[in-house]
Amino acid sequence: MNGIIQVKNLSKSYWRNSLEIPVLRDITLDVQEGEFLALMGPSGSGKTTLLNLIAGIDRPTNGEVTVAGTNIAKLGESALAKWRSSNVGFVFQFYNLIPVLTAFENVELPLLLTKLSKSERKKHVEATLNIVGLGDRMAHYPKQLSGGQEQRVAIARAVVTDPVILVADEPTGDLDRKSAEEVLTLIDRLNKEFKKTIIVVTHDPHAAEKASRKLHLDKGDLV
């Protein structure tokens, strides 16, 4: 059965002067729709690079990445940007919220690229913030929120456009145990309740426990 994400013979190398540094070597994997995949491995194993390639924010050296039937390696920069806006939701370790925008405005950001009216955007944003449990923090700026709350706003921003896949890079890496648990529960809920296809990069075994499948990377190889 073909997955919603198909990775074929994917390689990625970086160049330092004339020295080639391979980061990923000939990776092939499928991710099924609605799957919750955890990518694990030590630092430098290439898990974040693989996540970036699947999410279309980096370019492979060789190989193909097909998401929902689109070979994203063949898309130009602007087409790829447009594709990301409607197909991928991102959650980062350090939240990466825009500090001068409120929680509401941060979540609304991806919707500004859609044709939704102001009232429709408002409805979507409020619904999403309510799902992540921050309906009462909409007017708060990031600096007025705790780390866990910031990450939940980031998750709301990632899913507000109802993307095909949700990718998260160490989403609990900067959180205390309690906040991390809340965030993991929320991601799990998005997978189970809202049938989101999720790929999470983590080196925390506890975080990976929620995933339906775990893949380990080591020095650029799937092991």
Binding site: I57, K82, R84, S85, P99, V100, L113
Partner: protein, 385 residues
């Protein structure tokens, strides 16, 4: 709307830095406006000249006189409409710092200079009285001269005590018409010269020659000069514009320096705004990576950075432009009275300032935009500011 809101919030993120940048632009635009005003006013004396007026003076220098007898000869040339003699009197009014032009002229001077608007009644009154004088409205206002007032000058080129009575106040027709002159009868000066220094009588320093057809100016100039060739007082006739340019070019180096300085100031504010924008863009490298990740295009990022740069430039520049007027007014009042025959902000100065502001806003954004667009998303996330 959202983009404008974000641009405003980004610009105000570092309030002190943005405020100092805006203040810097404001001061620079005021300095630019002041310098440009001085430069344009300096040259506007040339622009105020008329194409149908020629100046005939001694070929050596206009400080050497020409005889009265030249007037009839010049008038006899075909195409000459009016000839009016003039003598630079100078003198001191109360104090040497009270500078304004004092010139003895023929009565037809007001026909040659139709831009000096004098009422018929004032002109009749002026003509009737031997020691009458006419003053420009600007010095009338400055020194509170009224019709019937006495003006006493202490002569220097023409020594002695000279008493005049104000019989008319002329208004400038145009904004750049000199309204700081005091004009009086050449006959009054000449009669006294006949009595006191006969050798200096029956002379003028220059003749203003009004021609019917400005296209014949060169030809008539040559005819006038040819008339007096090989005489004891050879003449040089040129258009009023060329004559005035001669005075302006004497201060050419200073004016050129001021001209350059005004544009160097624009260069300095460009660096100030560019520095602010580069710092802002560098600090937001991760944020730009987030925007790109979310699907915002190069055009969106360009709009955000350019918008912020334009906002800062326009806020500072707009404030500067608004303050140019009161500052120029204050400068005029601080200058010795009559130093400039007129002093006002020319529309071209404002146009240049606005163009400069827009160019600064645009250029200051180029490098940050280029950097933001060239930075890969993954490199943006790795960036540690």
């Amino acid at each position: 709307m959202k983009a404008i809101k974000l641009i405003f919030r980004n610009a105000l993120r570092h309030k002190l830095r943005t405020s100092l940048t805006i203040l810097g632009i404001t001061i620079a635009i005021i300095a630019f406006g002041l310098l440009r005003t001085v430069v344009t006013i300096w040259y506007s004396t040339v622009d105020a000249t008329m194409a149908n007026r020629l100046v005939t003076r001694q070929s050596v220098s206009f400080i050497f006189p020409l005889p009265f007898s030249y007037k009839d000869k010049i008038e006899s040339i075909d195409g000459v409409k009016n000839v009016s003699g003039a003598v630079w009197f100078q003198g001191v009014y109360k104090d040497k710092s009270n500078f304004f032009a004092r010139v003895a002229v023929d009565d037809n001077y007001f026909e040659v200079y139709p831009e000096l608007l004098l009422s018929k009644q004032d002109f009749e009154n002026y003509k009737k009285q031997r020691n009458a004088c006419v003053v420009g409205s600007q010095i009338a206002k400055q020194y509170n001269f009224k019709i019937g007032d006495q003006i006493v000058l202490e002569g220097d080129i023409f020594p002695g005590r000279w008493e005049f009575e104000v019989r008319g106040i002329y208004q400038p027709k145009n904004k750049n018409t000199d309204a700081t002159q005091m004009l009086f009868h050449l006959d009054y000066l000449n009669e006294r010269m006949k009595e006191e220094t006969p050798a200096r009588a029956n002379q003028v320093f220059w003749y203003m020659v009004q021609v019917n057809d400005p296209n014949r100016s060169a030809q008539i100039s040559n005819q006038i000069d040819a008339l007096f060739k090989n005489s004891t007082a050879e003449t040089k006739t040129e258009t009023e514009k060329a004559f005035t340019q001669g005075f302006v070019s004497a201060s050419g180096a200073i004016i050129t320096a001021m001209n350059w300085m005004s544009f160097m100031i624009i260069g300095i504010i460009l660096l100030v705004v560019a520095n602010t924008m580069i710092m802002s863009a560098r600090e937001r490298t991760r944020e730009y990576a987030v925007f790109k990740t979310l699907g915002f295009s190069a055009l969106h990022l360009t709009g955000l950075i350019l918008g912020e740069s334009m906002l800062i430039a326009c806020l500072g520049g707009g404030l500067g432009v608004a303050l140019i007027f009161p500052i120029v007014k204050g400068f005029e009042e601080a200058m010795p009275k009559g130093f400039f025959p007129f002093f006002f902000v020319e529309p071209i100065t404002i146009v240049l300032a606005v163009i400069a502001i827009l160019i600064v806003g645009l250029l200051a954004a180029i490098f940050p935009i280029q950097r933001a667009l060239a930075t890969k998303i993954v490199d943006g996330f790795r960036f540690v500011g």
